[in-house]
Structures are given as C-alpha cells and as structure tokens.
Symmetry: C2
Subunit: 141 residues, 2 copies
C-alpha cells in the first residue's frame, strides 16, 4: 500500500472527506499516472470501471483533493490539469512535458533569488514558475 495513499487517507480524514470506491480509484489512477492529466482523461479512464461517473463528481473530487494538497494543479492549454502532489512536501517547481504531461522537479524557487520586489506596495500572494517543453521519451516519438 502506497505511502501516497496513506497520506491521502490521513488528510481526507482530517478534513472530513469520506473515502469511497470512486475516490480510491481516482487517487489510484493519479498516483499511478504521475503526470498532469485533464479532467477528460480522468473521466475516460475511470468510466471504464464506473461508466456513469459524471463530470461534476470528477471536478468536485479533483478540486477538493487539490484544496487539501493531495493533488497539485496547473492551468495549461486552456484547461486545468491535475497531478499527485509531489511527496517531497517542500516548495518546488516543474518542468512540464507538453506532450505527455510528465514532470521533472526543480527544487529551486526564483522567489528566493528576488530581493524585495514589493517596494511599490504590491502585495504578493502567489507565484507560478513552470518550464515547458518535451521530455526525452516524447522527443523519440
């Protein structure tokens, strides 16, 4: 039984989410995939075992899980993509393959390099740093 799943169960319990067969399968798929996937991909996969699964359920679960840090999200190519949160737990960024969604982790963060950039009174809430391209596997077609 994966460490990721253990962690997910804990967080769900803490936050008052129940585990259901669908949620288990959704998490299983994402932990296995280990890349950014779209809601549509999730739907296509999970409907093999749960033919009536609705998008409402898929989006609700994906967003709920992202809210409790079981998943990470990014907006890419006009749609939201979801992946298992990196186990490291520490702040990090990604190289993201545009073909398959696989990622490589960058353990550095440009915010650390920047001096105080808010002289003007800008209040920083968040940031995004992502590198896009093609992974070695996809380059070989």
């Amino acid at each position: 039984m994966g460490k990721q799943l253990e962690r997910a169960r804990e967080r769900m319990k803490t936050s008052g989410f129940k585990m259901t067969p669908k949620r288990l399968d959704l998490l299983g798929y994402l932990f296995e995939a280990n890349r950014y996937v779209s809601a549509r991909e999730v739907a296509e996969e999970l409907r093999l075992s749960h033919p009536s699964l609705s998008y409402d359920t898929i989006y609700r679960n994906l967003n709920d899980f992202a809210a409790i840090d079981i998943l990470e999200t990014t907006e890419l190519d006009g749609e939201m993509k979801y992946r298992a949160a990196c186990v490291s737990g520490t702040h990090h960024h990604h190289l993201i393959c545009r073909s398959c969604g696989k990622t490589e982790t960058l353990d550095v963060c440009p915010m650390e390099w920047l001096g105080p950039v808010n002289e003007s009174g800008f209040e920083i809430e968040d940031h995004k740093f992502e590198i896009y391209g093609r992974c070695a596997a996809c380059l070989k077609n």
Copy 2:
C-alpha cells in the same frame, strides 16, 4: 501619436495585416488600459462605439496581434488575458494584480539563474514566471 501605435502599424504592415477602424480602436483601448484585460472586457468597451462587434472578430484580432508581438497574453483565472506588449522589447516577467490586471515589470528572468536543467534530455521550449497579488491601488479598495 503614440510610439506604440507606430510600432503596431509597422508590424502589421510587415505581416500583411490591414489597419481598420475597429483594429485601431482595439489597439487604442489596450494601449490606454496598460493592463491585462479579458476578451469580454474588450467586447464591452468596443461595443460602445461598434455595437455589432463579434467575439470572433475580437478573438481573431487579439490573437493575430499577439502573434506579431503587438500584444502579450497570459492564461489567468480560466481565461486568456491580453495586454499591450511592453515597449522594452527585452525579455521580462510580471507581477500581476488579481483585481485590476495591472502589472509591474520584473527585468530579471529565473532561467538565467538556473544552470543546465535538461540533463535528462528534456527539451525546453518556453517558460512562465508570474507573481500574483494585489497592487497598492487595489489594496486601498
């Protein structure tokens, strides 16, 4: 007559785009706004003077202009936002206000700090570095 508009006319001519009253107004609005705006905002503004303006026309022009670097784009809050390209011409990044879309320019780029990150054969095509928050003006409500 603005330098930005001169530059836009040049680029349009070079790329074979015709200037029309609507395009002129669209550019005027964006050059004046000087912040990220959505297609909807553009539509609402331009329809004051061109009531029948269609979204097709708006999106076509916005994307055409972005393609020839008269505009910059970013994907934010589930939609595409457009703004006048920064005149500097040099590569840069932005702090973006989530309330009003105004930006502050960061002249540094994290890619310069990163050593070679593509040891694994990942081919870098592009990157995105944006800082989100509230600008001083919006903080005062």
